[in-house]
């Protein structure tokens, strides 16, 4: 049996290893990903096993990493770039937004740029400035990028392989605060296919993580566990919460969430990124359009504040907590 229990970080490693083994055009690029194995050790051992030409320690320049990855992709490679921390993706923002996202379109489909940008993101690890941010909305607004975040080791493994297989660029957000959370991973699970237009989108389909009837909690990445804990607490109080793990921020699987909200009539979206102009806004707008007559209360949002991510000593006041989710559920039930 190939099912193993492992932390989420190691499931990403396993996904990368599987991708490197399956396809010689796959390569990894980033700062310190070689001998060091990355600051989170996600690429640990991969340079030793696949060589310096496939697991590349790059110069300290994020625009250069993504820009050269684009060139490599044009030559037929499938580069997976590691950005060391969320706050350091911005030097590469131009290459991602004006180039990576647009080249397939610019070429009218003649060129594919299958680049994956791995970003350990989110807070809760007691870090200094720029090491705890959640930039998903800043990528989702730009067409041409897929933006995903796994919440479980199995999804980390499956989604990483699907991301590498994707002909479209993928912003792969790894919830670093959950890197050490363990779960079972079936290492023999098939690589989800992206070619089947009729089938479900393997990178864009939400997952009902817990069924419920009274309220829908929507989360992704690091807040799925928060939402599940909140659902647990609510169950103890007699409220049945459904938890939807989005997995993807672009596209959003609105049908799955809307189906849930039509049943429960209430919805709370939970993410670490600031609420203002965040994923919760898009979801709330969309759900209100789709479920107007089913909603008993406005879709509520529990997210970060419109402030720079605070100092580590305050991050637990900033991050969406179980208590804040419960508070929002109370408010939505009070309607």
């Amino acid at each position: 049996m190939s099912t193993q229990t492992m932390p989420l970080a190691k499931a990403v490693t396993a996904g990368l290893r599987a991708a490197l083994e399956a396809d010689p055009s796959v390569m990894l690029m980033g700062e310190d990903i070689g001998r060091l194995g990355g600051v989170f050790r996600v690429t640990d051992g991969l340079q030793k096993d696949f060589g310096e030409h496939r697991v590349v320690d790059t110069p300290l320049a994020e625009s250069g990493i993504v820009g050269t990855a684009i060139g490599l992709a044009m030559r037929g490679y499938r580069p997976v770039c590691e950005i060391q921390f969320d706050g350091f993706v911005f030097p590469a923002y131009d290459q991602i937004t004006t180039q990576l996202a647009k080249i397939h379109n610019r070429s009218r489909g003649r060129i594919q740029v299958p680049v994956v940008i791995r970003i350990p993101y989110g807070g809760g690890i007691g870090a200094v400035e720029h090491h705890s941010e959640s930039p998903e909305a800043l990528f989702a607004h730009t067409a041409g990028l897929r933006v995903v975040s796994p919440a479980t080791p199995q999804d980390a493994y499956d989604m990483m392989r699907a991301a590498v297989a994707s002909p479209d660029p993928v912003i792969f957000l790894e919830p670093k605060g959950r890197y050490w959370s363990k779960g079972d991973v079936d290492l023999d699970s098939p690589v989800p296919s992206l070619d089947d237009a009729a089938g479900p989108d393997p990178l864009g389909t939400a997952r009902v993580a817990r069924s419920g009837t009274d309220v829908t909690l929507v989360a992704y990445g690091p807040t799925v566990a928060t939402a599940l804990s909140a659902a647990e607490a609510l169950a103890a109080e007699g409220t049945s919460a459904e938890v939807v793990d989005l997995r993807s921020v672009s596209p959003l699987d609105v049908p799955t969430v809307a189906e849930s909200v039509r049943r429960t009539g209430r919805c709370v979206v939970v993410h670490e990124a600031p609420s203002f102009f965040g994923s919760g806004a898009e979801l709330a707008a969309r759900l209100t359009e789709e479920c107007f007559y089913s909603l008993e209360a406005p879709v509520l949002r529990v997210g970060g504040y419109h402030a720079p991510y605070p100092v580590a000593k305050l991050e637990h006041e900033y991050l969406p907590s179980v208590d804040r989710v419960l508070d929002a559920v109370d408010r939505t039930l009070a309607h």
């Binding site: 320049a61 820009g67 050269t68 070429s107 489909g109």
Partner: protein, 398 residues
């Protein structure tokens, strides 16, 4: 690297840094001293070029100039949204293009009409972008020419990454001319200020990537003279990153050919990148939207009109008795034909399908695009129906 040291005061009004020159503005060959070391001198690199070769270059430069004139006229007639002329830079484009081997890949900026012409990219396709009809226009794989990139400097990193891919494919240092591949990144003097260009030099240098940084210093970045971008000649930029660098007279097609040939040889052999500053002049406006009278003197333009690269090659052809009036008339006729093809072809380019704006946003289905496309198609159909109904109502009422 051999540096041919010639007093540049003849080609640069202000800048007197030495640069490689093989043909003087008067059309005579410049005699280059023999080089020590392993590398042939630059003159040796053009010694094999026959009269036919030189005439082919001349033809390409003339056709490139005509392309500019026709495109400019088409823009004036409202057929193009915008156009950026290469006029004055034909030697700095046709020269290097003639030195390229078939597998070499070019990453142009947006003004490399001469290179695209030599590589065989269809002339009408080359104007799709400027017509506002396509963001690209041709298939990069067909002639090994990447699409134009309008964000200054970005594609220089793509070229470098592509060259890193070439290395991984083992397509350098094999000695097989069908196999060994170099990559050329074209950019301007202004572009050298962009961080991306510097980062490309870093990546190319530490990886020994087979890339040639071909910087056409046409002395202006829109309204800003090169002195706003650098306090020293631009070719020195490469050296600071460990990339061998050379400055060439960009109005001397043979010197450009020779310098590119050397750089390609280095790249093909697996010896890494080269940085070239081709010192030339943008004789026209930045684009058809620009008004150079606001920022530069007529006298300067006149000075450079006297140093037209096409005239220089014509002078060489005459001096070396490769010129032939019948042949020249043939080239002129070809240019006329190109003009006609272009006018007819551009006018015939229709507008794309409205729904095409949803095409190729992703290579795989994406729910948001699918939903919006479906909405748009419904909306378009309803609007069309409404318009038809309105017309009918109007008909009945009349």
């Amino acid at each position: 690297m051999p540096h041919q040291v010639i007093d540049g005061s003849d080609v640069g009004s202000a800048d007197v840094t030495p640069l490689v020159q093989l043909v003087a503005p008067t059309g005579e060959r410049v005699h280059e001293p023999d080089n020590d070391g392993d590398h042939p001198g630059y003159a040796a690199r053009v010694a094999h070029l026959t009269g036919d070769d030189l005439r082919a270059m001349y033809r390409d430069m003339v056709l490139t100039r005509r392309f500019d004139d026709e495109a400019t006229a088409l823009q004036r007639q409202g057929e193009l949204a915008l156009y950026a002329q290469a006029t004055g830079q034909e030697a700095a484009q046709v020269g290097p293009a003639h030195a390229l081997a078939a597998p070499d890949m070019v990453f142009p900026s947006y003004r490399e009409h001469g290179i695209l012409h030599v590589r065989g990219v269809d002339p009408v396709d080359r104007l799709r972008l400027y017509r506002g009809q396509d963001h690209g226009g041709w298939d990069p794989a067909e002639h090994n020419v990447a699409l134009y990139t309008l964000v200054i400097g970005s594609h220089v990193l793509h070229a470098t990454g592509y060259a890193m891919g070439v290395q991984r494919d083992g397509a350098v240092g094999t000695g097989d001319p069908e196999r060994d591949t170099a990559v050329v990144a074209c950019f301007g003097d202004g572009a050298t200020s962009q961080g991306d260009v510097s980062e490309a030099l870093v990546f190319a240098a530490v990886n020994d990537a087979p890339v040639v940084f071909w910087c056409q210093n046409n002395q202006w970045a829109i309204s800003e003279p090169t002195t706003r971008q650098s306090s020293v000649p631009l070719y020195r930029r490469g050296e600071g990153f460990g990339v061998p660098s050379v400055r060439v007279d960009g109005n001397d097609v043979l010197a450009c050919y020779a310098v590119m040939a050397e750089a390609l040889e280095r790249a093909h052999a697996g010896h890494g990148p080269t940085f070239v500053e081709a010192y030339t002049y943008r004789m026209g406006a930045h684009t058809t939207s620009d008004d150079p009278t606001r920022y530069r003197e007529r006298a300067e333009e006149e000075y450079w009109r006297q140093r037209d690269p096409i005239d220089r090659l014509a002078a060489l052809l005459r001096a070396e008795e490769h010129w032939d009036d019948d042949w020249a008339a043939g080239v002129a006729a070809e240019a006329d034909a190109l003009g006609e093809t272009l006018r007819a072809g551009v006018r015939a380019l229709g507008a794309p399908e409205t729904t095409s704006m949803f095409d190729h946003v992703y290579a795989t289905p994406h729910a948001q695009v699918a939903a919006e496309r479906a909405w748009f198609e419904r909306y378009e159909a309803e609007t069309a129906e409404q318009t038809a109904q309105d017309a009918e109502t109007a008909e009945v009422a009349r």
